[in-house]
Symmetry: C2
Amino acid sequence: MSLDTSSVPVRQAAETWESLFRTQVGVMRRLQKDPAFKELTMREYDVLFNLTRCPTGWTRLNELNEHLLISQPSLSRMVERMEAKGLLQRRPAENDQRGVELALTDAGRDLQRRLGRAHVQGIHELLSPALSSEELLQLKSLTDKVLASLAASAD
Amino acid sequence: MSLDTSSVPVRQAAETWESLFRTQVGVMRRLQKDPAFKELTMREYDVLFNLTRCPTGWTRLNELNEHLLISQPSLSRMVERMEAKGLLQRRPAENDQRGVELALTDAGRDLQRRLGRAHVQGIHELLSPALSSEELLQLKSLTDKVLASLAASAD
DNA sequence: GGGTAGTACATGCAAATGCATATACTTAGG
DNA sequence: CCTAAGTATATGCATTTGCATGTACTACCC
């Protein structure tokens, strides 16, 4: 009774994904316990973080949505709430009257930085005991490859 | 103007984590588009999946909860709904009258297998173009190390 | 240009979620 | 034992989420 040869890489991909996924869950669970994150949902922090990553400072709502695991209507209302809290600002998009562009306010940027520091600190404490500097680099290089491949096959 | 030396590994851990996290989000977004997953939330699938991973077949609710990014009350009610759908069964725990133990029903196992196949297939299609067989192994080995380290420092 | 299809965001509404807390049981100490 | 502290799950309630759909604009094609 031998295994179908073609199923070996399939299994391997699945096992690798499972390990990566469980790692993400495990690390996330620890990070969420940090008292610094009582102020904001992980999802809300993720919005702030993504907004820091835009060179022009302004990001389209639909573009932001592509980086998150949240539905468009939910993001729409989350952004509305965060605007009300003074964490970000909205304006109609330049060249498309349908669109909305977002940017951090100073308060939003400050909060992101503060939580970001706690976040980064927590990550360091969780990953450093597990992996050497070279291994971290290796891991990043592998996931970067997957990211590049996903971007290349943008459906 | 030189960087604080101690901040280098911190940055490295953060960048590695960001890449891993974005990979998880990217892959997840693709997987969710699979029509096979219209029947069940990712979170619900995750419950079914985790229940297949228990050798005895029965899993404690609190133990299951430790593997998920969901609050205890939410899981409690999700399990209630899934029991109503006939996907799993509940019984009072053996040695602890407070506790609840869960197991898949045949219908639950069948559904998990069906979605699991689609899941695994999708993962293979996403990861294989990105990484060679050796790289998959490397990646798994690195995330396994992180998992082991997290388990060792169980707070 | 006028009409049709497509895209970007918002909204109504039912369902799912989390927080605080209640309930039922277990464990530890005196 | 009996009590106090701790643990496992459930429940009330306000908030958040997603789905279906609405509205406003854009792009394409004749």
